[in-house]
Subunit: 339 residues, 4 copies
């Protein structure tokens, strides 16, 4: 037996072996204002950081002496099979980190797509958008709830980011008609529970509410016949000091009593995190910042690597806890630590 490592050369490309390696590498490649925009949270970034820390406070209770020669990571969301319970969350402005932005991201994952909507004050515009994405084959409509007004992101204000980000105007989408972001994309501040039925009347897509963090809102979601909930705090970018996503998950899962599917985004960085979210009742998780890190590091290929690393880690986490299928992942696998 020998240790030849000393003489080993790592080669010209650095080795990115986990999602936080991509984060570190992306940070080096991006300008300060872009880095702040992606990494930043609202106010003191307490929830952004707690999203990570809350996962780390949960301990796993692995089971052994089970035949794990075959581990199957497949599951379904809204009736459609996915290869692993790992999906991509909606995030904006991918062009900040890679030339063709969302195009590269879109090429990285496989087929199944959901459409995320910020409700526009002009209801007809919402309708046109929904009809377009229906015809494009999107499988669900995700309505984000937690941004009736924009969170207080200090770095973006200090970096004057808002006036510099521009988007194609949705109302007159002619080429070159770019206007400042926050002037351009009004989000309805009056959208409320009673308005949901209108959305249900104009689409056959399942409706998923993104941003719910309490049992009260979870119960209202069930009562209003939506098809799913994404437990999310917008990556800690909207209201600071709300519960970490994984801490809110238990309350929401208990409230919906299995009547609708519950998903989670926020703080997932390892295969263990995916396992924990599923053990606590999530049907799948969504990745936000890690996708942008992958994109910033290597474009489409980086996004693929991020998804592959996390899927492989999740496969290992399943094998090492004795789970042969996603159905075997249950609440007994986790324990909240005293710290």
């Amino acid at each position: 037996m020998e240790d030849k490592t000393g003489s080993e050369c790592e080669g010209p490309e650095m080795s990115l072996v986990c999602l936080t390696d991509f984060q570190a590498h992306a940070r080096e490649r991006l300008s300060k204002s872009t880095r702040d925009f992606i990494e930043g949270g609202a106010d003191d970034s307490i929830t952004r950081d707690d999203n990570i820390a809350a996962f780390k406070r949960i301990r796993l209770r692995p089971r052994y002496l089970r035949d794990v020669s075959e581990v199957d990571t497949r599951t379904t969301i809204q009736g459609e099979e996915i290869s692993a319970p790992i999906c991509i969350a909606p995030t904006g402005f991918h062009c900040l980190v890679w030339p063709d932005g969302e195009m590269s991201t879109a090429r990285a994952p496989e087929g199944l797509r959901w459409f995320q909507l910020y409700v526009h004050p002009d209801l007809q515009l919402n309708k046109q958008l929904i009809q377009r994405v229906e015809s494009l084959g999107f499988k669900a409509l995700v309505i984000t709830l937690d941004a009736p007004v924009c969170g207080n992101r200090r770095h973006d204000i200090q970096n004057h980011l808002r006036r510099n980000l521009t988007l194609t105007d949705l109302q007159s989408p002619k080429k070159g008609n770019a206007i400042p972001y926050f002037q351009m994309t009004p989000i309805s501040t009056s959208f409320c529970w009673n308005d949901l039925s209108w959305f249900q009347s104009i689409t056959r897509l399942p409706i998923i509410l993104k941003g719910i963090l309490t049992k009260e809102d979870a119960e209202l979601a069930v009562k209003h016949n939506v098809q799913g909930i994404i437990v999310s705090n917008h990556g800690g970018r909207q209201l600071d000091e709300v519960l970490a996503s994984i801490d809110a998950l238990t309350e929401v899962v208990a409230a919906v009593k299995g009547k609708i599917e519950v998903y989670l985004d926020g703080g997932v960085r390892t295969g263990n995190d995916v396992l924990k979210a599923l053990a606590l009742g999530a049907k799948c998780i969504f990745l936000g910042r890690p996708i942008l890190w992958g994109l910033a590091c290597k474009g489409e290929h980086g996004v693929k690597e991020v998804l592959n690393i996390l899927t492989n880690e999740f496969h290992t986490s399943m094998a090492l806890t004795g789970c042969r299928s996603v159905a075997e992942i249950n609440r007994n696998l986790v324990q909240f630590s005293r710290l």
Copy 2:
């Protein structure tokens, strides 16, 4: 979409976008002894720091899908309307940080004023003062309880601050008759519950007791027919290692059973903090050090900025938790975190 931020120039004025930005900037502008005097706490400054940390341990439980197109931050204290539940706490020696000191601070806020009294051993002097402030239109008398003797502020002793701070002598207030602060402003060490009735007999102003931290004293306050309590630990400057203000609030609010108004000072730095204090039962909060930071940075204009930033943050906090009016802020909005 473009990221023009790289080429953006911030201009000559630094951007102060939150209250702690004002703190950092003020620290740079002040002499060590003034900085120590303002920032310092008693003994090990444990309570000073815990005032901040305790707020951060509380999590918000936001509600969504409510019409927040109109958010109204107005409330009342002692029957008088204020535009937001954000007031200025009594602090001393504003001239240390800005030439005309309290004059600039006074110009920054709007009309409603309360008078804070350290009870002087000479009762007649108290009476003269109270009659003067009544005639000047002050709306309430705040009696500070937590300073029968001065807290043990190590930095001030090391900086020999006490012998250097001077005040106009209240007993012979002739111009130029300045005498050392701690020799000049005796505070009654014998003032006790039985003495309250004398104050109640000489003024029609509502009496607010500042510094109460326990249910026992809160119950006595109700029993002695005062009109309000400010839960406060003097910014951690008097007795160290007492409860953080926000941690004491719950106990005091429970004890008064809604019979009198309860306010809070200590540790409020963000709109979320204001929201949390109100959710736990405070009618409004008072700002101490942040007002001095604003004053130190930009005089009257800085005080206004500090108040505006906090009010705007509070407005955002209300919108993002689904609160359309102050009356909708309630205990269900908060959860004490495990950490």
Copy 3:
């Protein structure tokens, strides 16, 4: 009002305004091995540090509007009055930090003295010692229990301290007959509960057991008719990872049910600490390392300053919590914090 502090000159003598100032100053004056010997704890020094931290986790619940124009710090121990509940703990080798060592320390405090005994395997030698101290007017016999073998103090081993420390041989106390410390001072390893009656038979002094940390041993102490207990972990120098003194105090106080007096040493650094110990049932506290810091900084005068500072702080702590006498200090004054 002016801030003249900037032009103030501190003079040649540094200002030591609290006990930890003395610690910092002493550290600078002592050799590494002496510093390690004094400051060091056993093993990982977890208990040494927790002695301090445990005090800081306790919150005070101050009461106001009481007449504190007269605050009386006097109390009694074993029926003898002391001016404040602040005494000096037994520590060794004061000559390491000041030329005439224990002589200077002894001159600093006032009259009342107790004798601390490490039980020697030779019972007659114990008897001779006890008879001598009785005749010298000592008022109590303190028997230290927690050192049947020496704790594992890594620094002292690394510094080869044990072979360098010498003491006059008690068995042949001729001048110059100095032999290595740990070879010279055998402590009985077999001394046990049944041996206590022999000590009770040879002295009329009250017997105080030092080092008890559990309710089980506290109950045995009461059963064996000793007169007092010093809750102590030997400053964290014997067995590491035992409870902090202040954390063990509650259990011991509950167990003795007021039948004998309970004292505490370990971690007292401020007047608040003294107040907390008394609130939790201690009759007085003993100071260990702070006395050596005072001695190292300024000899007899430094010891006096340390005692004066702590007594003054305790006086302030009493006034600011509304305690006019030691008898008014009770359990309601404290609350264990969530952290």
Copy 4:
């Protein structure tokens, strides 16, 4: 009395007085990849670190006034006497840190040996191995459960360690026939509870299951008639974020109800740790990394020193808690701290 330490010369050899001294010294002597391989944990190394921290959160409750002139550290495991409840855990690749590797380690401890098996997919190969170790006088068969697949050790991947570590091929163990480690040592991924009876049929050795962390698996172990359990998380090298060994111990001990012996590895660094593990129900502890540190520092002699230091510390821990024999160590000696 004099302090001669200042003039004392430490001599050419540095003083290693505790296990973490060996760790620090070993770190300096090893290449980065070897250091990473030994010190590293899986994923974020949370469990590796928590193994240590969890011990530190437990407080000891020492008993005094017991005759500890004779302290006996002997105990038995599987009916065989050992001089202290301190054994060596299986770890791999000792040649990475010392020329003749396992040979030196083996010479350091005394006689009693158990054989650790990673179950090979080829059952007959397992049988041959077991028969060989039986004939060599090994006293028990330890089957490691927690490695059906390899944990995700980022450093080893980044260091390309896996392709550089080689082992003699067990299936054709000719000299020189070295093949890469992870290609060479397949571990059965399908081995499960039902396969245990086959192992029980081919050996008379007691079977010990290593890696159990839950009450569910502990109960199954009892049900399947194994003779012992080693509570272990593989030093935090397999599945990260599982419970610290000492935290899992209580649950496992409660589940087996005394029917079989329970041991522990993971995080033991001091005599107090050994005492805590025994107080919580472990029959003995196993040392992993510390043995490699000893070996790396001084070969066989270093291993002996590590074992001696820990045994001496354990002896002191027993004396200072009033335990005269291992049988006197019980649950009342420990208390989980609030932190």
